[in-house]
Subunit: 352 residues, 2 copies
């Protein structure tokens, strides 16, 4: 099975550890190695290295090649970021060019999966559905009324669950209802479809992108490809596949339930939640040399070479790096973008 791994993000939510040159997907934030290599590794039961296509930004090709040295995964660089619709289209074109005419899995490079076999199983089920020509999206069984995720509403329909609507990040009230009702899954942005289906859906819903992809199809494998890719991308609208295709298509989308301990690891706080087993008896999570006194529910990371001493902290996030230090209310960790904005205003782009 071919897999297209989308690694184009320039995530700033793990600042100061994540920077322009090393966005989240390249960080070892889970303690088990860079997320991008973890993503490749967990797919091995399903796909060989030669069947993996990583799509990422120009700036990160070197980093990815060094992380995946010696492995035969395909690495394709987008000349600029244009959100997921062009990325998925490009991945489909590449997979087809490599000889794939069966269903392809598409997924982000920077997510966490506690139970990889659960993911593999769902992807295989999705593969069967996708063979019929439909898009099969994974639906993560929700475990809490998370307001940071998108939801997928479904109804039962032969031969599977059919998506009835996509709901963007809901209010807490709504999220609670969704979880209680039981007919909502989380949208992990993981789906399976053939290249043909992808291109057909793009043709119907994003005709301008489709014209670009046809140009790429003609140029792929030729010396002029990089040049054509650059030209095509420059003219493309930046749009997500969810918004541009999933929510617009009139063709049925099927959802395959998936219970794999998934998280998008969207913030320091969600990472803290995720690494529950590594926390101490006071619910502190520490990395590097830390001395915590009368402190609880805190996440303290010392990767800057300094000892961090903490006294009387609660719900505190401390992330130290050689040139920048973040101290925050751990529960407000998803607002780290405000720091990014502040740094831009104070002309410290060098720290981004």
């Amino acid at each position: 099975m071919y897999v297209v791994i989308m690694a184009g993000g320039s995530g700033t939510r793990f600042w100061p550890m994540s920077r322009k040159d090393t966005p989240k997907q390249f960080l070892n934030i889970s303690g088990k190695g860079p997320l991008i290599t973890e993503t490749c590794d967990r797919l091995r039961p399903l796909a060989s290295d030669e069947e993996m296509i990583i799509v990422l930004g120009d700036d990160h090709v070197r980093e990815a090649k060094s992380l995946l040295e010696g492995r035969k995964v395909h690495i394709i660089a987008e000349p600029m970021g244009r959100n997921t619709a062009p990325c998925i289209g490009l991945g489909a074109v590449m997979a087809a060019h490599l000889g794939c005419d069966s269903p392809i899995a598409f997924m982000p490079a920077d997510h966490f999966v506690a139970n990889p076999p659960g993911l593999i199983e769902s992807l295989q089920a999705a593969q069967s559905v996708a063979k019929t020509g439909a898009i099969a999206i994974l639906g993560i069984v929700p475990t809490r009324p998370e307001t940071g995720y998108g939801y997928i509403q479904w109804k039962e329909e032969q031969p599977a669950y059919r998506v009835t609507s996509f709901v963007e990040k809901p209010s807490l009230d709504k999220a609670r209802q969704y979880v209680a009702r039981g007919d909502y899954f989380w949208n992990a942005g993981i789906f399976v479809a053939t290249a043909q289906t992808i291109l057909k859906e793009i043709e119907g819903n994003l005709p301008s992108l489709h014209r670009g992809l046809l140009r790429l199809q003609k140029a792929v494998g030729m010396a002029s490809f990089d040049h054509v890719l650059e030209e095509v991308y420059a003219g493309l609208e930046s749009i997500s596949f969810d918004y541009g295709v999933m929510e617009r298509t009139r063709n049925p989308i099927f959802v395959v339930p998936c219970d794999c301990g998934w998280s998008d690891v969207g913030s320091w706080h969600s990472l803290y939640e995720l690494r529950e087993k590594e926390r101490d008896e006071n619910d502190n999570l520490t990395e590097g040399e830390c001395l915590l006194i009368e402190s609880k529910k805190s996440f303290v990371s010392s990767r800057g070479g300094r000892l961090i001493a903490c006294l009387g902290l609660e719900n505190c996030l401390v992330v130290d790096t050689p040139d920048a230090l973040l101290v925050a209310d751990l529960r407000k960790a998803q607002e780290v973008r405000k720091i990014i904005e502040g740094l831009k205003k104070s002309r410290r782009e060098d720290l981004l």
Copy 2:
């Protein structure tokens, strides 16, 4: 007027900024220069450099000499710390040796005074009292029910206020009563007395120390002095002048009110309180390059060369240095000694 400045402290309450080699009195924590030079400077209307005697630990002579380079202050090194009674006795012996037979002011090197003229005025009033042969102690007019200070109870008696008792750090309840009653001052450890009075009081209350001081008196100015000093100090009991003399003497002690914006700057929190005017509209005090977002009532000091970004903090203390970082609840800053204990336990004495 001669002044004996006691600079023997090895304060750890400003860790990680204060270390063994640079205790509080050598730090520029007030933003106006090292406390020890500030202490000398504010006494200039009263004493010339030649009339200032700084008593400190062996380890800190070099640091003090470099800070006071070009000034003719006397610097005397104690071979080891023995608390304030021996220090004050030694200061009195030295002042007498230098030809002083009038009242001498004794005071710590590491305090803060917002209004130096108020201090000078009180010291001059104390000088008049001390000429009668009594000890005159300054009584700081209390401005709040501080539980971290010692108190002096007094009653009116001609020609001045007479001390009736010394009270160590009281409970909050007691402190509130003291401030409400109006017959208590704070004890700043600043007093004025002649060398003769000091030696007589030590003779009556600490006879063993007195014998040591007599040996020093004989050796002062001779080549053997350092050797005798070391021998004498090695045999001395470690005891404070407050406990050993002030609280024991049956001779009257007079207290001179002093309203000089005094603080012993005993913790990061008291420093934060002190530098009220430097705080921003959200009551944050910052040093160095800091970016504070949605944060209030916090003290963030970046002297480690790193930018410190803060998000959603309240009552937080962040002190960064090149090799250690402290993050604490600002209101618990007086418990920094717990960090010191922790560092000793984890064999990181190099950070003390």
